[in-house]
C-alpha cells in the first residue's frame, strides 16, 4: 500500500492501528482489526485492496466481524478518517507461544524503524485485560534514494542504549548527548534473481540497499573510546516491511567475515531470544583484549569504552515495469520473501562483501578512536609523571599544600591517583558540539513535533 501510494507521490505519514480483541471473555480465538489513516495511504484504491487482501489471505472470514467503534475513535481523531479497515479472525490462541505478544511488538518495532512517519498503535483487549502500546519515532532521518521517494528512518537511540540518561555525569551534562543516530548509506547492490525464483514468476530488477545506524552516537565526544558490541541485521521487503530470516544465510556470516582484518576477534550468533533479538539476526562481537586495562571499577564508573550496536538495514528493492496493479506488487513481494534465502545465497559473495564493508567502516571508526586513546594515554603518563616530579621534589610547603588542597587529597600518593583520574576524565569526556547531532536542546521540539533531518 505504501509502495503504491508512493508511486503517486503521496507523503509517508499517518497511523496504523492493530487491534487484537476477543468477542467474549474466555474465547479461544482472537480477532484482529487493522486500520490505516493518513497521507501514507492516499492514492490507494482501498476497496480493491481490501477485497484483494480478504480474498488472498482471509477467504473464510465472516463479513460481519467488526471491532468496537469506540476503539477506533481515538485513532481517527488523531489521524483522520480511516482509509483502510480490515478485520479477520486469527488462529486458536491456545497454540500460540506464550510470548506471542512480544513477537508482535518486535515486528511492529522493526516496521516502525523503517517507516518512521507512521505512528503505530497496538491495542490488546482479551482475557478481560487491555494493554496499549504506541510505536512512534522521536527522531527521524530521511535517507534519499535516487530513483525512489526518500526513506524515513527512526534514528532515536533505543532506551536500553541510553545509559547516560540514568546516570548523568557531573562533568557531562545530559544536554550534551546526542539522542539519535546518523544513518550511513552503503549504496545499492544489484542482485541476480535465481532460476527457482524466476520460474516462480519473479522477474524484473532486484537490488538491495544497505543502510547502517550506530547507537549511541558519540560524535560529540571525539576522544571517547567505543566498542562495537552487537550487529543487528534487519531485512525489509520492497514495501519496507520487515521479513523474518533468512536465518540460514546469516548463520554463515561469522565464518564468511574476515574478522581479523576487521579488527575483531570473532562474531557470534547467540541462540537466546531476548526481545531485541526476536526480529532480525543479531551478532555479538568478540573484541581483542586491551594490553593495558584500566582498573575495572574505574572503567565501570566511567562507562568507557562506550558500547555501541550497529543496525544494518538490508532494504530490498524491486522494479518490474509489468507490475502495475496492487496485486502484482503484493505477489512480487511474497515471491521475494519466499525465495529470499535463495536470492541471497545466489548473490552471496557480493552481499557478504557489502556487509563486510559496512561493518569495516564501523570498526574503522572504533579503531581510529582506539589509536587516539593510545596517544592520549601516552601523553597522560608523561603529564602525570612530570607534574608529580615537580610536586614531589618541591620543598615549598605552601606550594605542596596548595596542590593538595586543589585536588582535595592529603598526600602525594593520593594526589597521583586523583590527578591521573581527573586527567583521563578531562581527556575522554572532551565535548565538541556537532551541528547534525540531536542534543537535548531539541527535546522540547521532539516532544511536540518530533524531529526530522535529512542525513543523506
Amino acid at each position: 500500500m505504501s509502495k503504491q501510494g508512493r508511486r503517486h507521490g503521496s507523503g509517508s505519514t499517518g497511523g496504523l492501528l492493530i487491534l487484537l480483541w476477543d468477542e467474549e471473555a474466555g474465547a479461544q480465538r482472537l480477532n484482529c482489526t487493522v486500520a490505516a489513516a493518513g497521507s501514507w495511504c492516499s492514492g490507494v484504491e482501498i476497496k480493491a485492496l481490501q477485497l484483494d487482501l480478504k480474498g488472498r489471505m482471509f477467504p473464510h472470514v465472516s463479513p460481519s466481524l467488526e471491532p468496537d467503534p469506540e476503539d477506533l475513535i481515538p485513532f481517527t481523531e488523531l489521524h483522520g478518517s480511516l482509509r483502510l479497515l480490515l478485520s479477520f479472525q486469527m488462529k486458536d490462541a491456545r497454540h500460540w507461544p506464550s510470548d506471542w505478544q512480544s513477537d508482535v511488538e518486535a515486528v511492529l518495532q522493526a516496521f516502525s524503524l523503517a517507516n518512521a512517519g507512521i505512528q503505530i498503535h497496538l491495542k490488546l483487549k482479551f482475557a478481560q485485560k487491555t494493554s496499549v502500546r504506541d510505536f512512534r519515532a522521536k527522531i527521524k532521518a530521511k535517507v534519499s534514494r535516487a530513483d525512489q521517494p526518500p526513506l524515513l528512518l527512526d534514528v532515536s537511540c533505543p532506551e536500553q542504549k541510553r545509559w547516560f540518561l540514568s546516570k548523568p555525569h557531573g562533568w557531562a551534562k545530559r544536554a550534551s548527548w546526542c539522542q539519535g543516530g546518523h544513518p550511513v548509506d552503503g549504496g545499492r547492490l544489484p542482485l541476480g534473481i535465481p532460476p527457482q525464483a524466476m520460474d516462480g514468476g519473479l522477474l524484473g530488477d532486484l537490488s538491495v540497499r544497505l543502510v547502517t545506524l550506530l547507537h549511541p552516537c558519540v560524535l560529540q565526544y571525539p576522544n571517547m573510546p567505543t566498542e562495537l558490541k552487537s550487529i543487528k541485521v534487519l531485512v525489509y521487503n520492497p514495501c519496507n516491511i520487515p521479513v523474518s530470516g533468512p536465518s540460514g544465510f546469516f548463520q554463515t556470516l561469522p565464518s564468511s567475515m574476515d574478522c581479523q582484518h576487521l579488527g575483531l576477534r570473532g562474531l557470534q550468533c547467540p541462540a537466546h531470544k531476548d526481545p531485541e533479538f526476536r526480529v532480525g539476526t543479531v551478532f555479538t562481537t568478540e573484541q581483542w583484549e586491551n594490553e593495558k586495562k584500566c582498573d575495572d571499577e574505574e572503567q565501570e564508573s566511567s562507562h568507557l569504552p562506550v558500547q555501541q550496536s550497529l543496525l544494518l538495514f538490508l532494504l530490498l528493492q524491486h522494479r518490474n515495469p509489468f507490475c502495475s496493479h496492487l496485486s502484482d506488487f503484493v505477489a512480487a513481494d511474497m515471491l521475494i520473501e519466499h525465495h529470499l534465502e535463495e536470492i541471497l545465497c545466489n548473490n552471496k559473495p557480493a552481499v557478504m562483501a557489502a556487509i563486510r564493508t559496512e561493518i569495516g567502516n564501523a570498526m574503522k571508526a572504533q579503531n581510529q578512536r582506539k589509536k587516539q586513546q593510545e596517544k592520549l594515554n601516552s601523553a597522560a603518563e608523561v603529564i602525570l609523571s612530570s607534574t608529580m616530579s615537580i610536586v614531589s621534589c618541591s620543598s615549598n610547603v605552601d606550594f605542596r599544600n596548595a596542590c593538595f588542597d586543589l585536588m582535595k587529597v592529603a598526600d602525594t600518593h593520593a594526589l597521583s591517583s586523583h590527578l591521573g583520574e581527573s586527567l583521563r576524565r578531562v581527556m575522554s569526556w572532551r565535548f565538541l558540539p556537532v551541528g547534525r547531532c540531536y542534543s537535548t536542546q531539541m527535546e522540547e521540539n521532539l516532544l511536540h513535533h518530533g524531529s526530522t533531518k535529512s542525513e543523506i
Binding site: 603529564i383 615537580i390 581527556m427
Partner: protein, 361 residues
C-alpha cells in the same frame, strides 16, 4: 701591491685612519647620554621602538595548548616534561643544553626544534630569560680580535690568536673582566667570509678591532655577545653582510631583533649597529663584474617587499634607499664577488676604505 701600500698607510697614520670611527663613537656615546630614560614597561608598548627594536606587545600572542585535544596533547606533555626538567635544573643549580633536554626523551620530543621552541615559549610565558631556566643553547658563533675575558668558571679567554677564532661562550651573561682596546666590532654574516678575513690577518691589519660571526642567522649567544660588547665597550658595531635580502635580514636581527625572541629584545638587540657593506650602491660604484651579480629570485623579491614594509625604515631612510636600489636593479651579490675585482680586495681595499672614509650607513 695596492694592499701593501694601504697597509703601510694604516700603520703610519693609524690615528688618522680611525678618525671617523672615533668620531662616530663619540656621537654614539653622546646619544646614549642624551637619550631620555624610557619606561619600557609603559602601558602601551609599541611593537617597534627604534631605541630597542622589535619587542613583544603586551596582551597579544597568547596561545592555548589543551590537554584534551588530540592535536595538542603531545605538545602539552612536552611542555610539562621540559618544565619538570627545568625545575630540577634550577633546584640543583645545574645547567643543561637544549640538546641535553632533547636527548632526555627523543621519542617524546621528536625533534630538536620542538625542544627549542618550547624552551623559548616557557621563557616568554614565565617572563624570564632563557639563562634563568638553566637551559643553554650550544653556541655556533665565532669571535676573534682584540678581546680578553674571563668565563664564569674562571677560564681566561684570549681572542687575539691570528690563526684561529674562539667559539662564542655558551654563558655570555657569566662573562666578566672584559679587556679590549678595540676601536670597533665587525659582525660578519658568513663563516666563509669570517675565515677569509682571519686568513688575511684582518684583525692585525686593522687592529685594534673585534670580529664576530653567527654563521648566518645568529643564535642567541652570538647576539648576547654582540650586546655584551656594546654594553661594555660602547664602540661602533659594523655589519658586513651580503648585498641580498637575506643578508639584510640577518643584520636586522642583530640590530632590531627577531619576532621569535621579541620578548627578550632588551637583552638581545643593539640598535646602534651600522651597515658597513656590502651595499647595493657599492656594486655600481665598484663596478663589480656582471658575471658576479646574481638575479633576484622570486623568493628574494617577496622577501624584499616584506622587508620594505617593516617599521625599521622610518628611522633609516638611507637603508630604504639602498633596498629600493636593489629592488630596481633586480640583482644581488655575495661579499665573495669582490674577489672578482682582486683576490684581496675585501680585506686590503674595500674594508679599509670603508672604515677610513666613513662608508657606513
Amino acid at each position: 701591491m695596492l694592499g701593501k701600500q694601504i697597509s703601510c698607510a694604516m700603520e703610519s697614520g693609524s690615528t688618522q685612519f680611525f678618525f671617523l670611527i672615533d668620531k662616530l663613537r663619540i656621537q654614539l656615546l653622546n646619544s646614549i647620554e642624551s637619550a631620555t630614560e624610557k619606561d619600557y614597561f609603559q602601558e602601551e608598548i609599541s611593537p617597534f621602538d627604534s631605541g630597542v627594536g622589535l619587542q613583544m606587545s603586551s596582551g597579544h600572542s597568547v596561545t592555548t595548548v589543551k590537554s584534551n585535544c588530540l592535536a595538542s596533547v603531545t605538545k602539552f606533555a612536552q611542555i610539562l616534561k621540559i618544565l619538570s626538567v627545568i625545575y630540577r635544573l634550577v633546584q640543583s643549580n645545574s645547567y643543561a643544553t637544549k640538546r641535553d633536554v632533547y636527548y632526555n626523551n627523543t621519542q617524546l620530543f621528536g625533534s630538536q626544534r620542538s625542544v627549542d621552541t618550547i624552551v623559548d615559549d616557557i621563557s616568554c610565558m614565565l617572563k624570564v630569560s632563557r639563562r634563568a631556566l638553566h637551559v643553554m643553547a650550544t653556541s655556533k658563533g665565532l669571535i676573534a680580535g682584540d678581546l680578553c675575558y674571563l668565563e664564569e668558571d674562571g677560564t681566561r679567554i684570549d681572542c687575539r690568536s691570528s690563526s684561529a677564532a674562539v667559539s662564542v661562550s655558551s654563558n655570555v651573561s657569566g662573562i666578566r673582566n672584559i679587556v679590549s682596546s678595540a676601536k670597533f666590532v665587525m659582525i660578519v654574516e658568513k663563516d666563509a667570509t669570517f675565515q677569509r678575513l682571519l686568513n688575511d690577518n684582518f684583525c692585525r691589519k686593522l687592529s685594534p678591532c673585534i670580529m664576530i660571526t653567527g654563521k648566518g642567522v645568529p643564535d642567541v649567544n652570538s647576539r648576547l655577545m654582540v650586546k655584551k660588547l656594546w654594553d661594555t665597550l660602547q664602540i661602533p658595531i659594523f655589519a658586513l653582510v651580503d648585498a641580498d635580502p637575506h643578508g639584510f635580514e640577518i643584520m636586522c636581527i642583530y640590530k632590531y631583533g627577531s619576532v621569535a625572541m621579541s620578548f627578550e629584545a632588551h637583552s638581545l638587540t643593539v640598535p646602534s649597529v651600522m651597515w658597513l657593506g656590502l651595499l647595493p650602491s657599492d656594486l655600481q660604484r665598484l663596478m663589480v663584474p656582471k658575471h658576479s651579480l646574481l638575479p633576484l629570485t622570486r623568493r628574494d623579491e617577496n622577501k624584499l617587499n616584506s622587508l620594505l614594509k617593516r617599521p625599521y625604515f622610518a628611522s633609516q631612510p638611507q637603508w630604504q634607499k639602498e633596498m629600493e636600489l636593489m629592488q630596481q636593479s633586480k640583482v644581488k651579490a655575495e661579499i665573495q664577488s669582490l674577489a672578482d675585482i682582486a683576490p684581496d680586495f675585501l680585506s686590503s681595499i674595500y674594508l679599509p676604505n670603508k672604515l677610513r672614509y666613513g662608508g657606513w650607513l
